[in-house]
């Protein structure tokens, strides 16, 4: 299992892996917003956490469709399916999601404080947003795995995966952003939405890999 994690991490980081593309996309989305909404610093600070979250959500969906499609194209998926007796398929999917998150999404989380500065957020808001991204984005990877597994046989499944996955990630977005706001705006609570966000991640960490494994088994041809 560690071997699978290391392999996927290497693939993600090396040329063609797409990890860098995600960061560039995130950077582009967030950098464009101030030009769109104008130089109102207060407004930017207010919408900052939401923009960071939406940018990170879209950027983390970018490479997801290749999660299983690349494996299927080069035949590795067959071998992974056959290894079911040795490595439970859901566990393999879980490890692949973790590797995808580490290679493609963790850099987004690391870059988000810098982009928070672009949005004129105060240090507390930046910290809270980064923390919620760190806790919430794994859920997006686990939900995305289901979409990637369903669309594994489709030649242009990229957009379909995003459309399938986006509605399911809405709760993650809602609680992530409301926790980030809760840390900055006084009457709003921080802990309850944050804990729900953590619960969502744990929930999808279990449901996602199992659903994706089922889809992969049903979709082999």
């Amino acid at each position: 299992m560690l071997a699978l994690f290391v392999r996927d991490l290497r693939l993600g980081i090396r040329a063609g892996g797409g990890a860098l593309v995600g960061i560039l996309f995130f950077l582009a989305v967030v950098a464009v917003v101030p030009f769109g909404v104008g130089p109102d610093l207060n407004l930017l600070a207010r919408i900052g956490p939401a923009i960071l979250w939406i940018g990170a959500l879209l950027a983390s969906l970018l490479g997801l469709d290749r999660l299983f499609q690349a494996e299927r194209e080069d035949g590795a998926l067959d071998v992974i399916l056959l290894a079911e007796g040795r490595h439970m398929l859901a566990l393999s999917v879980f490890v692949k999601c973790l590797a995808h998150w580490t290679a493609a999404v963790l850099p987004l989380v690391v870059a988000s404080p810098l982009l928070g500065l672009f949005m004129n957020m105060d240090p507390l808001g930046i910290g809270a947003t980064t923390l919620t991204l760190l806790v919430g984005t794994p859920a997006i990877a686990f939900i995305g795995a289901v979409g990637a597994a369903v669309a594994v046989a489709l030649p242009r499944g990229g957009l379909l995966v995003s459309v399938l996955v986006l509605p399911l990630t809405i709760p993650v977005l809602i609680f992530g952003v409301s926790a980030a706001y809760g840390a900055v705006n006084d009457p709003d609570p921080f802990l309850p939405p944050f804990l729900i966000l953590a619960a969502l991640t744990l929930f999808f960490a279990v449901i996602g890999p199992f659903a994706a494994a089922l889809a992969l088994k049903g979709g082999s041809d």
């Binding site: 560690l2 071997a3 699978l4 290391v6 392999r7 290497r10 693939l11 090396r14 040329a15 063609g16 892996g17 194209e73 080069d74 035949g75 590795a76 067959d78 071998v79 992974i80 399916l81 056959l82 290894a83 079911e84 007796g85 040795r86 490595h87 082999s220 041809d221």
Partner: protein, 221 residues
């Protein structure tokens, strides 16, 4: 129009001891169309079965059904005498399909190391396996740099780095030159002498003397 045909395998029934791969009246379909039916064979330890037939006769479908990647539409396939170590065919087989199951962005060594770790049951060290396929000192190269035939030989080396008693080979010599074909035939003979089982689909002669033959797609209607 159905491509139905009967098959019979030549040769006497093997001894009853040891591991046996048995298919009884196996039928397969692709996209709802029956491709073959009534395929029966039994392969014991140290025996090979070469499946031949024209394109579209269902050779690959048969192999995928035997591996368990596709459901059979009739009949059954089982592995007898595998004991606790090899409870089913999926756990006991190496499946070499059309695709090589290697990542172009990783080096040959990294690819083989991964499959050795992932598949378990380490057999030959990587260096030795590369020697066996006639490609020593190539391990550091990215897999994507290799020629078609070299890629295929690395995929064959995957069969050697971890042990499985049953080899399911789909056009294993596609892209190989004469010398490599001879080398691969020797590897297959060595595997059979070790008590292995080989089921190979091909339209090229494999140089596997003494192997049983199964001709598919002969009686077209």
């Amino acid at each position: 129009m159905n491509l139905l045909h009967r098959t019979g395998w030549s040769g006497a029934a093997g001894e009853l001891e040891g591991m046996r791969l048995i298919a009884e009246n196996l039928a397969g379909e692709r996209g709802g169309e029956p491709v073959f039916s009534d395929v029966s064979f039994a392969i014991g330890e140290g025996e090979g079965l070469v499946v031949t037939g024209p394109n579209g006769a269902g050779k690959s479908t048969l192999l995928r059904i035997v591996a368990g990647l596709l459901p059979a539409s009739g009949g059954l396939i089982r592995l007898d005498g595998g004991g606790e170590q090899w409870p089913d065919i999926a756990s006991a087989c190496h499946y070499l399909g059309h695709a090589n199951a290697m990542k172009t962005a990783l080096s040959v060594d990294e690819n083989l190391h991964f499959w050795q770790d992932f598949a378990g049951e380490p057999h030959l060290p990587i260096d030795e396996a590369l020697d066996m396929v006639g490609l020593p000192q190539i391990g550091h190269l990215p897999y994507g740099y290799l020629s078609t035939g070299q890629k295929r030989r690395i995929a064959i080396a995957r069969l050697l780095v971890s042990y499985r008693p049953v080899w399911l080979l789909d056009e294993p010599t596609a892209g190989l030159d004469k010398a490599s074909e001879g080398q691969f035939a020797a590897l297959m003979r060595a595997h059979l002498e070790d008590g292995g089982i080989i089921l190979a689909a091909t339209h090229l002669p494999l140089g596997l003397e003494g192997a049983k033959a199964l001709k598919m797609g002969e009686h077209r209607e």
